[in-house]
């Protein structure tokens, strides 16, 4: 009942946000991109969306692979739907509906006349060309976007969660605990992230969860200062005292009273944290200490593009434009949120 009731000041903030057109548009574009990227297999994939063969319908996009024998072909590995479509287009045995981009992010298309990399080719459906290994750049760009978004969001959720927990405890209980945690966080902040990742990468192969773990390990301290200050301020207000005088538990006071009054900085940080997360992942991938090859990633594309710039400039172009655009959109949202959630603009206290 507390959660679903939109507070007037929240409404005012959302209204102000909706008046900042640049931020609003950026928000909707990114939301659309993110939602679309969740079902990316339906847009960009070497698997067909729909196959009709001998009166039966198949939806190969998700689930286990369908061997070529399913459709009367002579091989037992996964069906090549593009070839299947071409064959059936001639003899009319069945019908294949391919996604917009008929290539997967891991697939090496070596069927072109020239050796990869190949420049953009609309006929073949390689709209942004292929990379050094003949993989479709658009497919890798979009799958890389999804990985980066999910990674940054997971990073934001875990670092914020830990930061809120520790920061709230510091602010609420204060005293010796606060003092010791402050010193700990100060020391912790000086851990060099890059060295840590280099060392860890030397010891084991980095993967999504290890990388996330390391970045959380060094990044959880960011939120603690903010939350500590927020809770420290809120708990000294009379409404918190009133709750205590009624015999409310610490948990109730922090969770129901103080945290809802301290959400603005948590939300306002989201877009900037996404920028930071994507930036971190991209640069680690660029340096070669990020996600393991062949995970689709912008950093890896950037490096390839840089190496092959002399003879394949299109490889560098796409991830550069994509990175700049996405980070710019997030920054626009961040600006608008900061502007519209500014407590000086919407406040209930004189």
């Amino acid at each position: 009942m507390f959660l679903f009731h939109l507070h007037p000041s929240t409404k005012a903030r959302l209204y102000r946000f909706s008046r900042i057109k640049r931020g609003l548009w950026s928000f909707w574009i990114l939301v659309a991109l993110m939602v679309a990227s969740l079902g990316l297999e339906l847009w960009v994939s070497h698997r067909a969306l729909l196959v009709r063969y001998e009166g039966k319908l198949y939806f190969p996009s998700y689930g286990s692979i369908l061997p070529g024998t399913t459709f009367g072909l002579d091989y037992g590995y996964e069906t090549n739907y593009r070839n299947l479509k071409a064959t059936w287009a001639e003899n009319g045995e069945g019908f294949v509906l391919l996604p917009l981009v008929p290539y997967g992010p891991y697939e090496n298309d070596l069927g072109l006349e020239n050796n990869p990399p190949n420049p953009p080719n609309f006929e073949m459906g390689h709209y942004l060309g292929t990379d050094n290994s003949g993989r479709d750049i658009l497919a890798r760009l979009l799958y890389g976007f999804r990985v980066a978004i999910l990674f940054s969001f997971a990073l934001y959720l875990t670092t914020s969660g830990l930061g809120i927990l520790v920061g709230s405890l510091m602010g609420y209980f204060g005293g010796l605990f606060d003092l010791l945690m402050q010193r700990l966080v100060e020391v912790w902040t000086s851990i060099p992230t890059l060295y840590l990742i280099l060392i860890m990468a030397a010891l084991m192969t980095p993967n999504f969860w290890l990388l996330l773990g390391i970045l959380v390990f060094v990044g959880w301290t960011d939120m603690t200062w903010l939350m500590r200050a927020e809770i420290y301020r809120e708990k000294s207000r009379q409404y918190a005292e009133a709750a205590r005088s009624m015999g409310a538990s610490h948990l109730r006071i922090v969770v129901l009273h103080l945290l809802p009054n301290a959400t603005v900085p948590i939300i306002a940080r989201l877009p900037f944290q996404m920028v930071a997360g994507i930036g971190a992942l991209t640069s680690l991938d660029y340096l070669g200490y990020g996600l393991p090859i062949p995970t689709p990633s912008w950093g890896e594309l950037l490096r390839q593009g840089q190496e092959a710039f002399d003879y394949a400039p299109w490889i560098l172009l796409s991830p550069s434009v994509a990175t700049v655009l996405v980070l710019l959109l997030f920054t626009f949202i961040g600006e608008a949120v900061r502007e519209s959630f500014d407590p000086k603009r919407v406040t209930l206290y004189e």
């Binding site: 507390f2 009731h5 003092l179 207000r237 409404y239 009133a242 205590r244 005088s245 409310a248 209930l348």
Partner: protein, 320 residues
């Protein structure tokens, strides 16, 4: 003689002043020192004193929102100091507080209905519909419309907000209400309404009040007994009429003289010289001696205790 509903014995609080990297204690602020007081059922004790005299701290010590350094608090004969967190939480329903700033003391993200239900949700065993009914009852008790439940605190005027604050304090059917400057944030015209509301509620529900104010008019209007605080100590206490007519402590006399009076044209009252001394380094001897017109050599050495000058009238000054 009836038993006091609240009895405070030797209550003291000293706050440590800390600074430096490891927060070493540099000194102590003696906010409240060795306070004794009693409140009887159905009675209002007015606590008066200037800013920083420890009035609000005293109220918070009674409710253990701040832990006392020394002394005891008895509520209905049971000692509150020393109770565990859980037992204390249960005891709190008997003593409730009305806060100074009605806007700050209501959670701005909650509706009035949510705010008034909270004490019932924390303490009570009432079902949801019963709580809703109780909220409506409380709102009409303090002169607000039950339909106002849906609204948020910022949609109300100062006086209405303070009514909500009073309704919240009443929710758990307490016997004692600690009112910490409940009207000092309000307009004078609204003050009178709130004071009358409190008086009516006292009559209706048989409540006892510890009423804190720095406004002497307010204190005289609501109190049966009055205690005067200076530098964390009670310097004079007694029945309201006696204190109004015959203040004995030089500080009380100065305080009373500072009140503009329409009836008597004589306004030759000279303000007290000097400033309130530091609580970190309170003056030795009588805490009032640096500003006292009657101070003599022994006052610098020896702090006078409270002496009963007339039945129920206590004064901490040998020259009264």
């Amino acid at each position: 003689m009836t038993r006091p509903i609240l009895e405070v014995k030797g209550l003291s609080k000293a706050f440590a002043v800390k600074s430096g990297l490891f927060k070493r204690t540099q000194g102590w602020v003696h906010a409240v020192s060795e306070v004794d007081l009693q409140i009887f059922p159905g009675e209002t004790l007015g606590l008066v004193g200037e800013s920083g005299s420890g009035k609000s701290t005293l109220a918070r010590l009674i409710l253990r929102l701040i832990e006392p350094t020394a002394g005891q608090v008895f509520f209905q004969g049971q000692e509150l100091t020393g109770l565990g967190h859980k037992e204390m939480s249960q005891k709190r329903s008997g003593i409730q507080m009305v806060f100074q700033d009605p806007l700050d003391s209501l959670n701005s993200r909650w509706t009035i209905g949510q705010i008034l239900q909270e004490p019932l949700a924390i303490q009570g065993t009432l079902s949801h519909p019963e709580r809703e009914a109780r909220v409506s009852e409380l709102l009409s008790q303090v002169g607000l419309e039950p339909a106002m439940k849906q609204r948020f605190p910022h949609e109300f005027s100062g006086g209405q907000r303070q009514r909500v604050g009073i309704a919240r304090a009443l929710a758990l059917r307490p016997q004692l209400i600690l009112a910490d400057e409940p009207v000092s944030a309000l307009d004078v015209s609204v003050q009178a309404q709130i004071l009358n509301l409190l008086k009516d509620l006292q009559e209706e529900l048989g409540l006892s009040f510890l009423f804190i104010a720095h406004d002497i008019h307010v204190i005289r209007y609501v109190s049966h007994k009055v205690a005067v605080m200076y530098l964390g100590r009670i310097v004079e206490s007694g029945p309201a009429e006696v204190l109004a007519k015959n203040p004995l402590h030089p500080y009380t006399q100065a305080l009373w003289a500072s009140v503009p009076n329409l009836g008597s044209p004589k306004t030759s009252s000279s303000p007290l010289p000097g400033e309130v001394p530091s609580l970190i380094h309170p003056p030795g001897g009588c805490p009032f001696h640096p500003r006292c017109p009657k101070a003599t050599a022994p006052c610098l050495e020896h702090r006078p205790g409270l002496k009963e000058m007339a039945p129920g009238h206590f004064v901490a000054c040998p020259y009264s």
